[in-house]
Amino acid sequence: MGITGLFLVTFLIVHCGINACIFFNDGGVTFNAAAEFMATNLFIRIMEYVLFIGIVVHIVQALVLTLHNNKARPVKYAMNNGAANSKWYSRWMGLLGTLILMFLIIHLDHFWLKTRFTGLDQHTLFDQMKSSFSHLWVVLIYCAGMVSLSYHLMHGVQAAFQTLGWNHKKYTPFVKKAGFVFSIVVPFIFALMPIFMYAGWIK
């Protein structure tokens, strides 16, 4: 879970970086150039397959572990005060992950399927973004998806380091802080994209 999770985190960094090009507000010139590079670069094309494998493995691992964990406690507690000793999002990673998966299916349908297979309705990916984000419901779903992602990362990033045994007196406090900042900043930047486009702040 840790290795696949951290791999998916590196993808988020690239994805966020590329898409943040829309904030240059140059009519999508920089963004379209970046998208064009991503679509034609052989390494990125190979990594696309690796990414999908990463997502599937992450999900399969989660399912296998969850089934195993459920079996480890056949009789549940009548009263269990989990809030007293752990963060709610650390206990609900499966639910958050499912919400992210639901978001992901919508998201892939909006952009990935169209760019790779069925063809864009609009001329460029930038115009496609503008048209997709002209609907309020799409913007709301994207924002909700990013809230789920944020909480998932808030636990996931630092937990991955713990799972991999990367614990150090000096660095662990930094990892925890950095993981927290990452979990807020990256989903926030992502969420700003549909919001800005819907509001018409990006021309």
């Binding site: 572990l65 195993h68 964990n69 079996k71 480890a72 406690r73 056949p74 009789v75 549940k76 507690y77 009548a78 009263m79 269990n80 005060n81 989990g82 007293a84 000793n85 752990s86 963060k87 650390s90 206990r91 990673m93 636990h155 630092q158 937990a159 380091f161 713990q162 799972t163 991999l164 045994g165 990367w166 614990n167």
Partner: protein, 247 residues
């Protein structure tokens, strides 16, 4: 103090159990939680009912026998104490207190609040030892050990094996217990020799017993009456990976 207790009653591992309400009256707030149970059991015996079975031994927080899941938390609402050190002043007059046994497949209920924790013993027997004859106590500083290592080993060795970590873990994982036992030996020169074998065997036994997997919620560290740190779990993960890579 007058309280209402809702206690898990279960005749044996095979029979189903249920929560039974018991009113208890005139409880002193200076009593320990277990003494309050003694009072209740005296009342039950007088009435000709079967007393509630619960584990206890030293009643001073060092043996790790007492094991009650009180109001949704192992060893009750206080941090850093076992059930025997929990006093009734931690509750309010008129409170309803729910008391359940540790719940995990690896800890089957024997009777009422008593669970079988021999899974822990089997994990220790699988590798939680050193195979050399230690002989008499050596002269101090005969084997130089860095102070930070000695401190960490000592902190890990504070684990009393009560099972609160398993009880509170949403996955019933025994990682905190096993990692404390792995760490306590792995940090010291006497234990380093067998470190790779130890971590592999103990993790294998832990999995065999049917404990769940660690998802790093950190609940175990909060509920551990001896304050065993999550750092031990990371150390065990590290030991485990390197043991599997090197061999």
């Amino acid at each position: 103090m007058n309280l209402t207790l809702k206690v898990w009653r279960q005749n044996s591992a095979k029979e189903a159990g249920n929560l039974v309400s018991y009113p208890v009256k005139d409880i002193s707030e200076d009593m320990s939680f277990l003494e309050m149970f003694d009072v209740l059991n005296e009342q039950l015996i007088t009435k000709g009912e079967v007393p509630i079975a619960f584990d206890h031994d030293c009643r001073e927080g060092i043996c790790g026998m007492c094991s009650m899941f009180i109001n949704g938390r192992p060893h009750g609402p206080k941090q850093g104490v076992t059930t025997c050190q929990l006093h009734m002043r931690s509750f309010k007059d008129g409170d309803t207190i729910v008391v359940e046994p540790w719940r995990a497949k690896a800890f089957p209920v024997v009777k009422d609040l008593v669970v079988d924790r021999s899974a822990f013993d089997r994990i220790i027997a699988s590798g939680g030892f050193i195979s050399v004859n230690a002989g008499n106590a050596q002269d101090a500083n005969n084997i130089p050990i860095p102070k930070p290592d000695a401190d960490k080993a000592f902190d890990a060795a504070a684990c009393i094996g009560c099972g609160a970590c398993v009880a509170t873990c949403k996955n019933s994982s025994a990682m905190l217990f096993v990692s404390a036992k792995v760490s306590q030996l792995a940090l010291l020169p006497q234990g380093k020799i067998e470190a790779t074998m130890r971590v592999k065997e103990m993790v294998a036994q832990m999995d065999k017993e049917g404990f769940g997997n660690c998802s790093n919620t950190g609940a175990c560290e909060i509920e551990c009456p001896k304050g065993i740190s999550l750092e031990n779990i990371a150390r065990m993960n590290r030991e485990f990976y390197s043991a599997n890579i090197t061999e």
